[in-house]
Structure formats: structure tokens, C-alpha cells
Subunit: 475 residues, 2 copies
């Protein structure tokens, strides 16, 4: 056992379990070419976008069906060996890392769009479908799926982490948008939760218990989500501010006024500079709000006028418009790539990312000091925010081999989270707990609530085989 406690946030607790050769033989027999112990394959399934480095899983199974998932889990259960679901590996918090060894269950080949029910505004997909694939598949219906984390994540991963993105301010997160699931339980049983009805009071909300459970309570094999009509009119605008505080205060006022803004994103001046370099753009290098408005032409115009007035009051520069779909795509692609732009801005670095979310009125208090602290630390950073939701990310760009930088970054992260919690917020708005925030979860919700989570985990996965060692320690 590693000496570091999970609460230390510094190094994950490694508790590798023996993987009996008989299990590997049985998996090989059942899965043939869908089974691999090759070092390269294991390595690829043993890392994500987090700054952690731990030994890879013992083997990888490439599932192609619910039956594959069920069979793999049943075999793993028989030998009490961990199973870690894997999509595209875009987790930021170490969700995918095999801290107790075991089998990585890659569902990326389960990438069928199973049923588009346009007349009900729902779609059912397999977990390996990515968000861009989904939107391409439904495009001809005039509908779209709004949840858009930075990476082109799978719907399985997005469901498992309760993901959101730039549209959440208007459309909610995976919490609000998943209607029904098919789930393989820890015993390999296949169950269904929810229906395609828009609402239900039929017993415990197992759907939402699974959403955000990070692979620890079940493995999702079918996901039904809501779709929305493409808006009649869309306008995207950039407004630049000389002061970060002015940009934040504009955001707070937009939300408090109830403007139904579809996207409201913030980058500070440092991050605009990084994005300009990466995406070869010429954005004005001040604090910047990127906004999008949806509705009827008249409705969009009303929203724009309200927001322009608020930005003016807060000393914003003139609005710049992305009028064509191509300009909008370029702008939002740049925003989505801000994480990668940040990481590429410091060769060889790893990003330690934060993900606090606070009640909207406390956003200035939470955000401004955090940026000042990052600047004062001397560690390169970037800052992007889904600020309409009160959610923002710092990325501290550290040399992973430099323990002092890592400590400094973790200390910044600690201060930022402590501040967010003191302001009534959460340590993670959308990335999940994974390995990185296990201590923060206890700080945030209290030992009693974590004990309740642990009791649920014990009840549904008594041998602790589903992505063990994540969210909370069992002992």
C-alpha cells in the first residue's frame, strides 16, 4: 500500500490486486482478438489527461456489445478483479487509472446510434458514441445535443462524470439530459433505468445515481438523452474587457437578470494570448467573454441588447460578431481547444486542472483571487470558465518531474477549492472526483454523506470490482 492518503491529492493510493492467470485465460478464450495484454495497448489504457502516473491495467477487453460487457464483468466478478470502463481516455482526474490493477474494458467500439426518436426529441446511443459523432448523426433531423466538454468525449464518459460544457448554462448538464440507461451491474446483470418519458416518479432515480458515478456502480451500455430543436437564429459575440473583474461582473448580471443566454464563456488575458498563438487568431488580448444567443430573430435581438447594455455599464469594448456558421465554428473550436492550447504552450508540461463551481453571486470572489494567486506563483497557467454556471477552470502547467512545481500547483488548487467551498460551492462542476478530489469531496459534503455513498457502493458492488479506488476510499 502506498503511504500517501487519498486526501493528500498528491499521489494515488496503489493497491494492486493479483490477477489470476485463470481469469486472463478465460478472457482470452471468450474474447479472442478483442482481448489484449500487449504493453502498448495496456499503456494506452493506463493513462488519461491527468497528471498522475500509475502502472497500466493488466489487460484490455474491447467490448462490442452489451453481452460482451456482461460477460467480461461476470468473469472479473468470479475472480474479484477490477474492471475499469474506458472510452477515449479524456478524463482529467485519473478516473481511468488502474490503481488496483485489473481489466480495462474499452467500450469505444460500441459506437452505434441505436434509435433517433426525433418526434420525441430523444436519441439512444451506445456508450462509445462521441459527442461530435452524435451531432453528426442527428443533424438531418434539425435537432442537436448540447452537452460539449472540451474533448470529443464519449457519451459513456460524459454520463459517468456528469459532464457539461459551454451550453450547460442554457441546457443543463448530463444530470438534466439523460433520460434512461441500460447498465451492466457488478454481477454482470443487465438492468434498465428510466424510460423515454420526459418525467417520472417511479421509484429511486437510478438513472441519476448512475450519472456521475464514474464507473463505480455499473457500466453503461445504452444511454438515452434529450435532443433540442436547432434554434431559428443564432448569434455569437465576443466582448473584451480591460479588467477581469468587469468581465465577471457582466456575467453575474446577465444571469441574475434571467437572460436565457445559450453560452457565456470567460477567458482571461493570459489565456486569450495562449489561444491566439495555438489557433492563429487575433483576438484582443484582454479578458474576454464569448457568448452565444439562441432563439427567434427578435428574441436573439432582445437578448443581445440586454447583454450589450450590461457590458457597456461594465466598461466592455465593442461587441465583435461571429455571424456565419463558419466563423462561429472557428470561435467555439478555439474555445474547446483552450485546454490543449494551454498544455501546448509549455513544452513537456502536464496540466493540473481545477473545476470549482460557486453560486453565481460569489463568482467574482472565487475567481479573481484564484487568478491573482496563480499569477503570483510564477507557475504558467490558463483560465477558462463556463462562468454563466459559476464554473471556472485553472490549468496549472507543471513540469511533471518537478516535485516543487507540483506541490505549488496543488497548494494553489487547495486554496482555490477551500475558497469555493467557503462560498457555498463545489470542488468539481463537471470533471468529477476521480483520484484527484477524494479529499475535497469529504471537505465539501461531509463524512456523513460520503459514508452514505460508501454504503451504496458496498451494497451494489460488494467485492469492489467496478473502478475501485475512485471518488472515496472504502477504508
Amino acid at each position: 500500500m502506498n503511504a500517501a492518503l487519498p486526501g493528500s491529492h498528491l499521489s494515488p493510493r496503489l493497491e494492486p490486486r493479483a490477477v489470476p492467470p485463470a481469469l486472463l485465460e478465460a478472457l482470452k478464450l471468450r474474447f479472442g482478438g478483442q482481448f489484449s495484454q500487449a504493453a502498448a495497448v495496456r499503456e494506452q489504457h493506463g493513462r488519461d489527461e491527468s497528471a498522475f502516473s500509475v502502472p497500466p491495467p493488466d489487460a484490455v477487453v474491447f467490448a462490442q456489445s452489451t453481452q460482451d460487457v456482461s460477460d467480461a464483468v461476470q468473469l472479473a466478478a468470479q475472480f474479484k478483479v477490477p474492471v475499469i470502463p474506458f472510452g477515449v481516455g479524456s478524463s482529467l482526474e485519473g478516473h481511468l487509472l488502474a490503481v488496483q490493477g485489473g481489466i480495462s474494458l474499452d467500450v469505444s467500439r460500441m459506437n452505434q446510434v441505436l434509435a433517433i426518436n426525433a418526434e420525441d426529441l430523444t436519441v439512444t446511443v451506445q456508450p462509445g458514441v462521441t459527442r461530435t459523432q452524435l451531432n453528426a448523426a442527428v443533424k438531418s433531423t434539425g435537432l442537436f445535443f448540447p452537452i460539449d466538454p472540451g474533448a470529443d468525449a464519449t457519451l459513456g464518459g460524459m454520463t459517468a462524470t456528469r459532464a457539461s460544457g459551454t451550453n450547460a448554462v442554457r441546457f443543463g448538464t448530463m444530470r438534466e439530459n439523460v433520460l434512461a440507461l441500460e447498465v451492466v451491474t457488478a454481477s454482470g446483470e443487465v438492468i434498465r433505468t428510466g424510460t423515454r418519458a420526459k418525467k417520472s416518479s417511479a421509484g429511486y432515480d437510478l438513472t441519476r445515481l448512475m450519472v456521475g458515478s464514474e464507473g463505480t456502480l455499473g457500466i453503461m451500455t445504452e444511454i438515452t438523452v434529450k435532443l433540442y430543436p436547432l434554434p431559428e437564429a443564432v448569434m455569437a459575440a465576443i466582448v473584451s474587457f480591460d479588467s477581469l473583474a468587469d468581465a465577471v461582473n457582466t456575467t453575474i448580471q446577465i444571469i441574475q437578470m434571467g437572460v436565457p443566454i445559450a453560452r457565456c464563456e470567460l477567458l482571461d488575458a493570459t489565456t486569450v494570448r495562449i489561444v491566439n498563438t495555438y489557433a492563429k487568431l487575433n483576438l484582443r488580448e484582454g479578458a474576454m467573454l464569448l457568448m452565444e444567443f439562441h432563439g427567434s430573430p427578435a428574441g436573439v435581438q432582445e437578448q443581445v441588447e440586454m447583454v450589450q447594455a450590461l457590458a457597456d455599464e461594465n466598461h466592455g469594448h465593442a461587441f465583435e460578431w461571429a455571424k456565419t456558421p463558419e466563423e462561429r465554428t472557428r470561435l467555439w473550436t478555439a474555445r474547446h481547444n483552450a485546454y490543449f492550447a494551454g498544455v501546448q504552450s509549455v513544452p513537456g508540461c502536464k496540466a493540473i486542472t481545477t473545476d470549482a463551481c460557486v453560486p453565481i453571486s460569489r463568482l467574482a470572489e472565487a475567481l479573481l483571487v484564484s487568478v491573482e494567486e496563480a499569477q503570483a506563483s510564477g507557475i504558467p497557467y490558463f483560465m477558462v470558465g463556463h462562468v454563466g454556471d459559476g464554473n471556472f477552470h485553472m490549468g496549472y502547467l507543471i513540469d511533471p518531474s518537478n516535485a516543487q512545481e507540483r506541490d505549488t500547483a496543488e497548494a494553489l488548487n487547495h486554496k482555490l477549492v477551500a475558497r469555493a467551498l467557503a462560498l457555498g460551492g463545489t470542488c468539481t462542476g463537471e470533471h468529477g472526483v476521480g483520484l484527484h478530489k477524494m479529499g475535497f469531496l469529504v471537505d465539501e459534503t461531509g463524512a456523513g454523506a460520503v459514508a452514505m455513498m460508501r454504503a451504496i457502493k458496498n451494497a451494489l458492488d460488494p467485492d469492489n470490482i467496478l473502478n475501485p479506488g475512485k471518488i472515496f476510499a472504502l477504508s
Copy 2:
């Protein structure tokens, strides 16, 4: 043990447990005047709006604080005696009935609005606050709370049943609107779930596990919900149709077009007649859509024009407007009283209510045949629907002493639910499972999902003291 199985929907399974005199003494000592064994008090806490009749609880505790709830639960836990939370008794599904005896824990005196955070659009209340009390308390802030079941239910009861109402088509249900909870667990411990941040990925979604758990997993002692800015403009309209099918099809098209309608309610001609009599109104006695539009003046006008065009295409009569706040209140009060109007239309009757909800495209199939079957049965009925959500209610008005009428009504209910499930819907859109839908829950979600619910219940309430015998049978 009663011979009738819960799946029979006909009579609840009674399994009274012995309540030791020592517990009653201890409660009396601790709670003094807040404790009662008086027959009238017990009777009042032993019934709800359902058609079931079972013996009342053994005693009633009137909690005035979280500490009271915790102490009462701790004492009950010590003696393994059931505790049933009670608000205003407006459950329609037998949630409050003491089928295993025990203590009714009345939280109606916990009726403080604890914190109005207008700048964050949130409010924190005790569970005994009712929806009209809440809206009165926040009125001066320019905000409102949209969830409005027919009765003036408590926020505790609404959270416990995952309630919705007429505004859910625009604002969602309690599922979407509860942000955070304080909960007393089965051991009497006080825990907190969620924060006031708008979104979070911090571990299992215990908030949403509690929402809709019908008092079986914990007793809510503080509830934080979202508020919304009062719309700049509101217009309410009635449109009457000669054919019920035309009214339903208009609704389906409104939703499929993505009109952001705030309310979209249906009454059939029979129910309009009942409401006219009860509320002394002169509504045209055809199938009727009651609608409300929120937004800017221009936005409301756009919505109205789209809906008028759709209604015209479906042979709707001319729109009638409720223009003043007083006219709107009169109209919506009449709608909210439809249940009571129905019950009063047949002296001495009890209503057996249904609550199916289906994907919007299947609403006509689900609803029209159900109304025809009710008409053919000869049993008086009423029909109201939150049709914008695909949710509708039949109330079969039976003589509770007439076994044949009850059987006929339950048979109608069975057919209606089976049809909704076959169409991809749910047996309960907003009322909850309670005693009445335990069999339907299994039909809907399958034995595997119910087994998962049972495992969670066993883990969080191992002695089965929190509102036992509801949602599912433990054995």
C-alpha cells in the same frame, strides 16, 4: 400478513409491528406536548387522498427542528419501529399510510423559510413550507418557484414524491429544481447533500436519490431549490376543440416545434363541465387547452402566433384570453381545483387516480383510448393532463364501499398503465409509487432495477424503519 400481494394494487399488505410501550414513554418524555396518541390526531395522520383505508399510526410526533427529527428517528431506530414523515397529507398514492404501524413524524411545524438568496436564484426552506407559502415569501424579490402540484403541498412532500405540476413543461420537476438537502438518515444522523452551486460532479448524486424516495431513505429537514425571475410578460389563453384528438395533436405539435410554452394543460369536455359547476365558470364545454406564455412582450407574441396557427390547423375555436393577473389566477385556480371538483362531483366518492406519462409523440395513443375506456365503463371520471410533458391523469370516481366499482376502476387503471408502458412511458409522472403502483414499478423497470433499489434501501435503512412497505416489497 394480508393475503393480497402488493402487485394486486387492490389492498395494501398490512404487517403491523409491535410498538413497545418503552418507545412511547421515551417519546412522551422527550417531546411532551409535541407527542400525541389521541385517536383523532392518529386518524388524521393515517389517511391521505388515496382510496386506501388502513389502521392509523400508533402515535404522532410534531417535529419543530432538525434535532427533533433526529431524536425521534434515533428513538424509533433503537426500537426498530417505523417512522413516516407527514406534511399536509395530500399524497394520492397511500404514501403516508402506516401499513406497518409506527410513528407519524409531522413536519408541518417546520415551516420556516430559512434563507432567500435572491442574487443566486435559490431559497432554502424547512420541509413543512408549502408551495403557496414559499411563493408569498419570495414575491418581493421578483422571483418565483414554479413547481405546483394540485394541492398546496409541502416542499418536503413535493421533494419526496418528485412532484411537478403545470409549469414543469418549461421549468422541470423537483428532480431539476432541488439543489441541496439536509437529511436525517435512518440512524438519526444529520447529513448534507449538494451545494448551492448550479451544477456539480462531486460524487454520487445523493440529492436526486433522495428526491422521489418517498420518505424511505431519509427524512428531509432542509431543502434548497431554484427560483426564477418573474417573466416580463405573461399571457394565458384557453382554446376549445370539438374533438379531444385535435386538442392532443395540437399539444404534440407545440412541443415538437420547440415552443417554450410555460404551461400546456388539457381537460376533456366532461372535466370542463365538472370544473364549470365547481368553480362557477362558463367555459365552453369541449376539450380545452389552457396555456400560458412567458417571456418578453415580443417573445410572448411570437409564441402565441405559433400556437394559434397550430390550433387553427387542428380546428381549434378562437383563443380566449385571461389578460389580467386576476383572470389568470381564477383560471389556474380552477385548473388546480380540478381534482377537488372531480371528487365533489360525485358525493361520497373516492378518486382512484392514474398518472401515466409517455413520450410526447405517443400521447394521442395513450390518452384517447383511456378516455374512451373510462366513458364506456360507466364509472364517473375526470381527466386532466400536463400534456406538454406527455403526462395525464384520469380520476375514477368510485363508491369506496362498492368492490365492483373499485375492481372496474383498477382494471381501467391497469389497462391504461400497460398501454403507457408499451408506448415507452412510465406508470407515474409525478405522484409517486406509494402503495398503489408497487406492481406497476416492477412492470415498468424490471426486476433487476427494483432489486437495485431494494439493495440501496437495505444498505441505508437496514432495519427498514423509514416509511416501510412503500415503493417495493422487501421480500
